[in-house]
Amino acid sequence: MEHVVVAALNGLVVGASLALVAAGLALLFGVLGILNFAQGDFFMLGAYVVYFAVAGGLSFWLGVVAAGLVVGVVGGLGLMLMLWPLRERAHALVLLATLGLSLILEQLATNRFGADAKPMAAPIGARLAIGGTEYPVYDLLVVGAAIVILAGGYVFLRYVKYGIWLRAVAQNQRMASVLGVPVSRVYALAFVVSLGLAAVAGSLLAPLTSVYPTVGLDVNLNAFIVVIAGGLGNFRGAALLALVLGVVESLGSIVIPGQAVQLLVFALVILLLIVRSQRQQVLARL
């Protein structure tokens, strides 16, 4: 019984961080039609920002905020500048550009910080008794923080001016522009929020995964799976599916050994894709 509880909670932690990365990916695809292969590398940069912030004497939580802001603003605007000239060109060019950026960022991180994993202590060491076992409070906080951030994102998209404009641009960019929506500013916001979410996820998970140049690779692959299965451009679908997949994978690992549990995840994704294709859901539903 304890195994199941721990596995379910572990799944929630993995799913919550995955949801942050996937929601960012979905947002960028929904608004701009861009699939960002470097999303996992901004997760990695977020982890490094919090690592060095803590090493430099800042509190962990300030480090998380700094990771979201620095990576979101600098990375987001930088990525926008890089991709802006390609926006009217073939999608393949954008994909290749982000893939290239991913390789560059990983290599730069390896050269600058080394390939070794840098362990990080969680800011809260306490444990909580749940279902006959003791579970780290910090891990639960990660889940809570991710849920709050994603719920905030949902409220933002539904009720806040720029959130509504993001959805409008995602659905009909030309009409949004005709109504006076500042489309380029909305694009910039999509980049900043998308990369900021990845960085926050990376920084929150740094104490659980350690910090190393390829820490974002696995997250990236899973985030892509989630975004495709949840409906490209579907912010809510991606976030919810990430949580579900995290829990399914973790619970499945109790009965299915090793990497074979991935088969369960892929089976679930394929099933979802079949259902989705039958329902012919539209894209860009944020």
Partner: protein, 234 residues
């Protein structure tokens, strides 16, 4: 209010609008008529900045109109395209608020009230997704949203296309009210009933050029109007 001076538009090397000049005054309804493919919609898109490359001058209230569409919208230019004008996955209310949010917070409700007053059916369906409305209701939504922003001048492309006569009446009445309240209206449409209600003048287009300008009062019947644009537009 709006003046086109020798406007040319180009799709690549194709010279689609070939030096047209026209004028729409404050509180004036003006029609643009002609056969399919003569460049009416391209003219509206060129003015809005969502169309092809242009040359020539577009002047709104004595100032040149330049820049992207959103900058032109903020100058008080409205545009209601003939299709794909609503945000399909947003509710009726969100569709209206998308534009209204450019205004001060206190004005948002006024925009919604204006839209709902023009077309009460939108109020009944305020929580329905735009993409699930009927074609006629989508036309009403896009027009109401455009008018609720209180533009100085609004351009409307084929507002009566595919609508039942009762809905054409509603749309014509809404546009007439706009004209009466001082908004300039430039409308592309083939409905005599709508043109007669909204416009005092029409321009006839042929192959990217303006070939005639007429007072609507010159035409007692739709047949006379059609005769004229068949003569001048063919």
């Amino acid at each position: 209010m709006l003046e086109l001076r020798e406007l040319h538009s180009f799709y690549g090397r194709s010279h689609v609008i070939q030096g047209i000049s026209l004028r729409v005054g404050r509180g004036e309804g003006v029609g643009l008529i002609g056969h399919n493919g003569v460049g009416k919609t391209t003219t509206l898109k060129s003015i809005m900045g969502t169309g092809p490359r242009t040359r020539g001058r577009i002047v709104l209230e004595d100032r040149d109109l330049r820049g992207p569409a959103h900058a032109r919208a903020r100058r008080g230019l409205g545009f209601v395209p003939d299709s794909e004008a609503v945000f399909p996955e947003m509710t009726v209310e969100e569709n209206i608020r998308t534009g209204a949010m450019l205004k001060r917070r206190g004005d948002h409700k006024r925009c919604l009230d204006t839209a709902y007053e023009l077309f009460p059916v939108l109020a009944e369906r305020r929580h329905q997704l735009g993409g699930t409305l009927s074609g006629g209701q989508q036309k009403m939504l896009s027009l109401a949203r455009g008018l609720a922003l209180e533009p100085r001048l609004i351009m409307v492309d084929e507002p009566s296309e595919g609508l039942m006569p009762i809905n054409v009446d509603l749309i014509a009445t809404a546009l007439r009210r706009a004209v009466d309240s001082g908004i300039g209206v430039l409308v592309v449409d083939a409905s005599f009933q709508l043109l007669k209600t909204v416009c005092s003048r029409v321009y006839v287009m042929k192959q990217g050029r303006i070939t005639g300008e007429h007072e609507l009062d010159d035409f007692a019947t739709a047949e006379r109007l059609v005769e004229t644009y068949l003569r001048e537009g063919s």
